[in-house]
């Protein structure tokens, strides 16, 4: 087809949506088709990427405990979100009461790519802001949903749990990290009892410093009020997204 005319051509500056693609007959031109498929391929790879606990431990610069959920592979994880919320029967014994202020759980969620890209620098930024807190050594959780942090936090006897988890990849972002905060973690906590900071993904999303500032402010408020969730919600924060639950 001919070159797009002027007005039509300029629409593309106004949105990230896939406008002005042109047509081959009725279909997308080849380049637009392949661009879309590349973005989907990257999102698919992120969903199915395995978390590498050793590499993560090295990046965090301290040994991490590794635990599993009851979903034993990715297929079961995707089909059975309920199993991804429960600690594997054999792994509970790995965790002992710490009396820590904070338990940090690093969970693969739906994007191990996001965890490898962003978890270690975010943890560093959070820890440096909390010099007087007792923070348990990070726990790496495999095939994990957000609520697995309840079992882990409870087993560690922590006041608060912070779950850093890979968010569901979109076509435009496959490495977005979410942070979920839960006061007095224990099995059966509802999503409305958590606070979430999402889209941690510099340079396009939230920076580590900005995310750590928000998370730390929330955690200080949570300790003060002895709660998390809707009652702690501030205007800049969102409730947990349903995908990671």
């Amino acid at each position: 087809m001919a070159d797009p005319p002027a007005l039509h051509h300029r629409l593309g500056a106004l949105t990230q949506a896939r406008v002005l693609l042109g047509r081959a007959g009725q279909a997308m031109p080849t380049r637009a088709l392949l661009d879309f498929q590349l973005d989907h391929a990257r999102a698919r790879d992120a969903v199915h990427a395995a978390l590498d606990p050793a590499a993560l431990s090295a990046a965090i610069k301290q040994p991490c405990m590794v635990v599993r959920s009851r979903a034993l592979d990715r297929t079961e994880y995707l089909k059975r979100p309920d199993l991804g919320r429960l600690l594997h029967e054999d792994d509970g014994a790995l965790l002992t009461q710490t009396g820590a202020t904070l338990a940090i759980v690093v969970a693969d969620g739906l994007s191990a790519s996001a965890v490898h890209a962003h978890a270690a620098p975010l943890i560093a930024a959070i820890v440096e802001r909390l010099p007087d807190w007792r923070i348990a050594p990070p726990v790496v959780a495999l095939q994990a949903r957000v609520a697995l942090g309840d079992d882990i936090g409870e087993a560690l006897g922590a006041e608060l749990s912070l779950v850093l988890i890979g968010e569901r990849p979109g076509l435009s972002a496959h490495d977005s990290l979410g942070a979920y905060l839960t006061w007095a973690p224990r099995r059966g906590r509802r999503d409305s009892e958590r606070n979430c900071v999402s889209n941690i993904r510099p340079p396009h999303g939230l920076s580590y410093a900005a995310a750590a500032d928000t998370i730390v402010a929330l955690m200080r408020a949570a300790r003060h009020l002895q709660l998390t969730g809707v009652a702690l919600k501030d205007g800049t924060l969102s409730l947990p997204s349903p995908d990671a639950r």
Partner: protein, 476 residues
Amino acid sequence: MYYTSRPEQCALASYFIDIGTTRYRFDGLAHLLAVASPLRSGDQLAGLAAESAEQRMAARLVLADLPLKAFLSETVVSYESDEVTRLIVDSHDPVAFAAISTLTVGEFREWLLSNTVGGSDIGAVAAGITPEMAAAVSKLMRNQDLIAVARKISVVTRFRNTIGLPGRLAVRLQPNHPTDDPAGIAASVLDGLLMGAGDAVIGINPASDNIETMATLLNLLEEVRCAYDIPTQSCVLAHVTTTLALVNRGAPVDLCFQSIAGTQAANRSFGIDLALLAETREATLSLDRGSIGSNVMYFETGQGSCLSADAHHGVDQQTLEARAYAVARAFSPLLVNSVVGFIGPEYLYDGKQIARAALEDHFCGKLLGVPMGVDICYTNHAEADGDDTDTILTLLGVAGVTFIMGVPGADDIMLNYQSTSFHDALYLREVLGLRPAPEFEAWLEKIGLSENGRIADWTPPAFEANRISALGQLNG
């Protein structure tokens, strides 16, 4: 193979069947329907799916011999505690039912497929068909049956154009934007119009729940519609309570949108009940904005929504989905669509399950008399891709789907999922000879967007002159 099936006399009917040396027993219709359902991850997650392939067939054999009348004497969700059940029971039309009242579910399948039964015959019994009957017969039907019967049925609705005529395919133009930016939305709207989309509705899912933002978006769509004199309707897909507020402050509300589900408890989780739907419909009707009809409701549904809300009452997700269409038909909607792959792989795992659900939803909707479209879509954690949406799109086109979505490049940058594109709609119209809604088709020709039945390869002069204030920055 020898088998028998008969209900036993007790409070909840029990059914059993012997296959070989195994006796299969089903306690109540909900159990029977769930086990008979084609495999899907949501029923597995709920613990309702068949435990074996043979058990599933046992349930289908029982179901085939079950009289349709059995669905009038036993409900799958209690009448006392669920207003959707009360709606289904209280609105059942025994006169319409008479023509099929002696049939079993298996005979009903054959009746629907029969060469002597046409779309008008099916339409005449629709008010006598409960959603549980529709779900039951669908479970005995292969994909080709779901297509062949749905294809017979026309459900025609009107607001500013005519939706659902045979040989027509309408498109919802879905110009979503992650920050509700009016210029970004206007750009997607124009892109869609230039590709012949928008006859079903130009409908925005807002990112915000702010009423000022919604009013801004409604005014933007009204401006576009009036600037080009487009015979279509617009919608901002807000919660009904927000739409009610927008109506009351005089915003240009064409259609009232709401997500609905098949149980009272699931609807409560959406913040609605039947009375609220009725109230908002009345308010929207009072604006009297439709030029050729008064179908003012737009509903979205999807298998798995009740389980997701922990409100499924032990009923399989496909039966509950059909119950949502009973809710829809009580409000004479212009449009209803299942958002079939949106909910994720824990409900519909892969392309095969999504395709099956899409055909079931379309069939059950049409059978119950609902103007059924489908948002053919997938998320990145489902085992599906663009090849699956192509397949489902083509199947639904053959089945006579009322409308599909048109999203720029199939990529919804606000909801973060993949649907069908403007291109996909053009493909389907081309390969199956389908045409837009007649009033919209005439507009496409008049304004120079259509040439010999195809979308033109150029931008007509009317679109070169910028008539949209949200695009004002383009003039700079």
